[in-house]
Symmetry: C2
Subunit: 422 residues, 2 copies
């Protein structure tokens, strides 16, 4: 049953995606295609499938929330690609596919015999996407990468953390999901072009290169100063327009802070802030009346704001200050996942999965005519092995049964017993 306030946008209905992705950089990309209506068929090795299914799993033989978060709305085929017949079936599926996507280690998909040169001959219209850690022509092109390696080498860590402390890794998985989104944009634009040309394309993105796209403000600073952009705590990178920071709130927990910002583009913000925090007496005070003065007297300014925030909780601070100037409570993941407003608006959805009851997850946050796309739980390993061969290749029950008997395809025993909640 679809969550309230959702309706399938069906933008990509009829688009077939042959999905060889694993972990996150690739899976995040194909998942969004599935949310938007594509038929995404995940090909998995029968011995455990996508290693993301067990990454961080605290319960053996149970798909981890990590996996469920990046593979909803897809179908799973468990197929022995290393057998000659299995490889033949994959090539048959590739003939029917619009998009092929993979993020194995460098060289692995080519060694399987499924490189772009092979598949584009079978299907000249195929849009073939690859995510790697480093780009072809980089000195590190053969190296493995994970999210944190991309964030180290791609500059995001150098601008994250306290000014006097070591680099910190941004919590969001820019190296993975951040890269997956850029690949997806390129796939969708290529699909648009293909309607006219009929021609496919070979798309490649490196996780390191993708990081540069997200730190262009920092590059702008380097262009102007000739120096590396520096870490700046919770402030913006140039930090030249106080207040622009977090302020501590009651009762003093690790995320009890409120962000307060006054835009340099609007000189009314500062007096409005003073009024909101009951310090109209300071309007016109020369210590704070210009941007330059506020930079010079930042410590005194921070004391004025903290005097207000430290006596109230972060939500009250956000309510009062946010009505006057840009302001926001620092929210943690438990507060967010339990906030009923996200569920009411279809941004977070409650799903049932055989391995995780009443699981809440963030779906696609963009609304189409006021509604978000419904989330369907991630498939069990091999849940759709037979179904997909019938749908895409028109196989008969007998043909499918023979493939099962030969152990070329593996329907998941649990999946056959217990269909996923709809």
């Amino acid at each position: 049953m679809a969550a309230a306030n959702t309706v399938a946008p069906g933008c990509l209905t009829g688009v077939r995606v042959l999905d060889f992705t694993q972990f996150e950089a690739g899976t995040s990309c194909t998942q969004v295609m599935a949310w938007l209506g594509a038929d995404v068929v995940k090909i998995e090795n029968p011995e455990g499938g996508d290693p993301g299914r067990r990454a961080g799993a605290t319960k053996p033989h149970r798909d981890d929330p990590y996996f469920l978060n990046y593979n909803s709305n897809k179908r799973s085929v468990a197929l022995n690609v290393k057998s000659p017949r299995g490889l033949e079936i994959v090539k048959d599926l590739a003939r029917k596919a619009d998009v092929f996507m993979e993020n194995f280690a460098p060289g692995a998909i080519e060694r399987l015999g499924l490189g772009y040169d092979v598949l584009s001959k079978l299907n000249p219209g195929i849009i073939y996407g690859q995510v790697k850690g480093f780009g072809e022509g980089s000195p590190y092109e053969k190296n493995l990468a994970f999210d944190m390696i991309a964030q180290a080498c791609g500059g995001t860590m150098s601008i994250t953390g306290q000014p006097d402390g070591p680099p910190a890794k941004p919590g969001p998985t820019m190296g993975d999901t951040g890269t997956g989104m850029l690949m997806l944009i390129s796939i969708l634009a290529s699909l648009h072009k293909r309607r006219e040309t009929g021609k496919g394309v070979h798309l490649q993105v490196a996780m390191q290169d993708a990081m540069l796209h997200y730190i262009r403000n920092a590059f702008g600073i380097t262009t102007k100063t000739g120096k590396p952009a520096r870490r700046n705590g919770a402030k913006s990178l140039d930090g030249s327009n106080p207040p622009c920071d977090i302020y501590p709130c009651a009762p003093g927990g690790p995320n009890d802070y409120v962000y307060v910002y006054t835009s340099r583009a609007n000189p009314q913000h500062w007096p409005r802030l003073l009024e909101a925090i009951g310090r109209k007496d300071l309007v016109g005070d020369p210590r704070f009346d210009t941007r330059e003065a506020r930079v010079k007297n930042e410590a005194a300014l921070n004391a004025v704001i903290t005097e207000f925030t430290s006596k109230r909780d972060k939500y009250e601070c956000m309510r009062v200050i946010g009505a006057a100037v840009p302001s926001g409570a620092v929210r943690d993941t438990l507060e967010l996942i339990n906030d009923p407003n996200f569920e009411e608006r279809g941004i977070i959805q409650k799903i049932k999965h055989p391995h995780n009851e009443a699981f809440r997850m963030a779906g696609w946050p963009v609304r189409f005519n006021g509604k978000t796309a419904p989330v369907i739980p991630a498939p069990l390993l091999g849940q759709h092995s037979a179904e997909v061969l019938r749908d895409w290749l028109g196989m008969s029950e007998d043909q499918v049964s023979a493939l099962k008997a030969e152990k070329i395809i593996h329907p998941h025993a649990e999946a056959e017993r217990q269909p996923a909640a709809a």
Copy 2:
């Protein structure tokens, strides 16, 4: 002249974008459409245009690198939208547009008379995109937001920083560019659907909501533990598989660190790492031989690795360790922008702009058949006012001149004098 190793992919050739965006969340979205071949026409107020042109500008009357980074490959029309004739022209342009995009403060575009209800009547096929800070139906739907507010309220700050320190803002502008990319995916998928239905759509995304998409690993942890995900310095959030951290390198500067990671999916990583750092003697040492042992003896393990890294620079460490296990030097923005390998591969491109000579910027990092898209410098304010009215509306020279005389459109004096480098 296009940079080496680039070729226009032309995916979106013929797609017309009416661009009312400013700052970054909207401009980053329309810029990628321009990179991929769309005709993106930026409508700007003649009194300074997009406030991003001057945001952080150190030289008055010069477009800041901040602006140039998000508005390349677009055309600029300086038009007085608040005059009745100007508004009429915008509506005529909207009749010809495939996509309309804006990210003004809540309610502003509707007050201008350019809401979805108005434009969808003039052009039922229009794909109409809006980025706001908070979603419709949120208690904060009328509040202003900037990148840092979205990152505070959207959870990314709560999981970034040192475990015992305050929240830090991730350096990458997830709230802005991160949101713009999700809107762009939705626009492109809607363009695909429209080829069949002819119908447009109203797309809306909130910066706060978009942040949830990038922190799903953290939500996975919360699902399993029932607790907020915590900050973890440079480590991954669950941090349960050492080594997975940065290690200090010579000569000890603020970004002289190397990331070292051993995947739990590959038990060979740990002995390979020991061999790479010349400590084969420790292979099989019970203090480190299992994941559980490495967690318990993390301090001793870190000392072993630091003994190696602290005597070498970060690039040597990456070369030696990265050949064995996932590893990466922490690179700063100056090192990245000056690395010739990015220019050779078309990832960073050198452009000339009248206000900034020999400016290097990161372009679209995805390669299409081995090439990236060429970057064309951002337009001067009003550089294409006349040209666009001729192209889109078929106006005559006389009609355009009359609009100039009435000060409805404003060709930029400097633009008329000095064409941008091509």
